[in-house]
Symmetry: C2
Subunit: 301 residues, 2 copies
């Protein structure tokens, strides 16, 4: 015979109540099937678990030992279902979040992760920073579970949800004439070399910047290429040119670079949540929901 949790529950109940009849009542069943099942179990194990008498039933020595183990097993089953419901509710599990360049400077994302960490102490949330193409590759390779990227996502097929459009600022070196103005028109820096990241790291943002310049009536002269989006700021500070960067980069106090709002219609840096196309794990779903809440709550970030 195959021992079953049922048998374990039965012998535990009998030991607890000291009688087949009372145990049966507690188990919401009748006494005969209980006797029958215990009898079958005893036969299968080849030993008597209880000494029956008119006063009830007491475990034999072997019975006591096995009742003890039955209790442990039942407790572990309970733990199994508890963990399962925790996982189902997204209160448990692990989530690896990938962040595109400069995204971690946006208060929004760390805030969302912090909120989730507090709400779900059993969840393990890890972060890593990279660029959009690498993040998308990591998604398909299952190295991460979700990425905040700058669309479009290259290669593979993902579920993409636009989070919000981040405003941009013009970064100019101190001493530059535009640094004196409260707001700068793009034309005012048409002659300066434009320092940008490699287009592959965010073609959408890259093209939006170029389009804005075209709209302003000039074709920008591309200067030194910044290896990442954030790397443009030190280059500007070094006097190699100007740059258009996500607004959150003004947190980088490079000393030597100042940030100014752009007059008119400035380009915008889109941020999106990318996941694998498969149905999301509960914890992932919660994370995305939290992100949306944060966006709604803060407007931008």
């Amino acid at each position: 015979m195959n021992i079953d949790f049922r048998h374990l529950r039965y012998i535990a109940a009998i030991a607890e109540h000291g009688s087949f009849t009372h145990a049966a009542r507690a188990l919401h069943m009748e006494q005969p099937p209980l006797s029958q099942q215990v009898r079958a179990l005893e036969q299968a194990l080849g030993l008597k678990l209880f000494v029956r008498s008119r006063q009830g039933a007491v475990p034999t020595e072997a019975g006591a030992e096995l009742v003890k183990r039955a209790g442990i097993l039942l407790q572990m089953r309970q733990e199994f279902t508890d963990v399962a419901t925790g996982l189902a509710r997204g209160e448990r599990g692990s989530l690896r979040v990938g962040l595109a360049g400069a995204v971690s400077l946006l208060p929004l994302i760390p805030a969302a992760i912090r909120q989730l960490r507090l709400a779900l102490p059993h969840a393990v949330i890890t972060m890593e920073e990279s660029n959009t193409p690498a993040l998308c590759a990591a998604l398909t390779e299952r190295t991460i579970d979700v990425a905040i990227i700058r669309p479009p996502a290259p290669g593979g097929t993902f579920a993409i949800e636009t989070l919000f459009e981040e405003p941009t600022l013009l970064a100019v070196p101190v001493g530059h004439p535009a640094a004196g103005q409260a707001t700068v028109a793009l034309q005012d820096v048409a002659q300066d070399p434009l320092i940008l990241f490699p287009r592959a790291l965010g073609p959408g943002f890259f093209d939006a910047i170029l389009a804005a310049c075209q709209n302003a009536g000039f074709t920008p002269q591309l200067g030194q290429e910044a290896p990442q989006i954030t790397a443009a700021v030190p280059l500007v500070a070094a006097g190699l040119g100007v740059s258009i960067v996500p607004a959150c980069l003004d947190q980088i106090h490079a000393g030597g670079a100042v940030f100014r709002p752009i007059a008119g219609t400035a380009p915008r840096a889109t941020l999106a949540v990318a996941t694998r196309p498969e149905p999301p794990a509960p914890l992932l779903r919660r994370f995305v929901e939290t992100l949306r809440e944060q966006v709604r709550g803060r407007g931008a970030g």
Copy 2:
């Protein structure tokens, strides 16, 4: 739904084989019921355990966690049955043995216990020494599981099995005329005070000694009463009289007492195994069997 070992086996097998079809084969069942059961389990837990594809099935993160726990539970069930069969075979468990006075001097009993200890390393065997009435009381009170007694057993109802008849020796003080003889007839000590234990500690043995004296043609003059059977030897050594004692007592080298075989039909000290009337636990059965073997092997002991 109630989670069952069946479900745990199923998900463990699927994780191991990486496919429903192969797992079903390994489980000696068909694929549809396996799919159905896992589906039901997933529904009950409210989460997906496996990602199905044409290449097979791989656990989700939650699935992997739960598969791990399922393996532990299954392993503990195995341990449960292992312990149960160990208990059933009497290879496991505890046995409390009570020994009547002087019985521990008989090589037979320690030898049996030693043999059992070596053969059954998982068994816990403890011993204690007392007198027959106390041992019988301990049996009914379930303080011990088996006793080697000097019948008859007072009070209560027990399963008694005679082990063997131990020969007796005459104990006389050095310097006593009988000490010079190789064999002593009981008549030769008819005038000496006979030192004996209280009759209640072994009425059968006590009466056998008196009967032997009557047979030899005299009624013994009872001297100082020894509190236990073994205590007679020092009293004899102190010159307070003679005694008739189980042969094994010659191991007590009191200095001052010598032991001599009794001519003719000497009284005999019966030893018996007493247990509670209920069917014996496996380990107890083994112990009694070992005792019988020892008796057969050694003749006396």
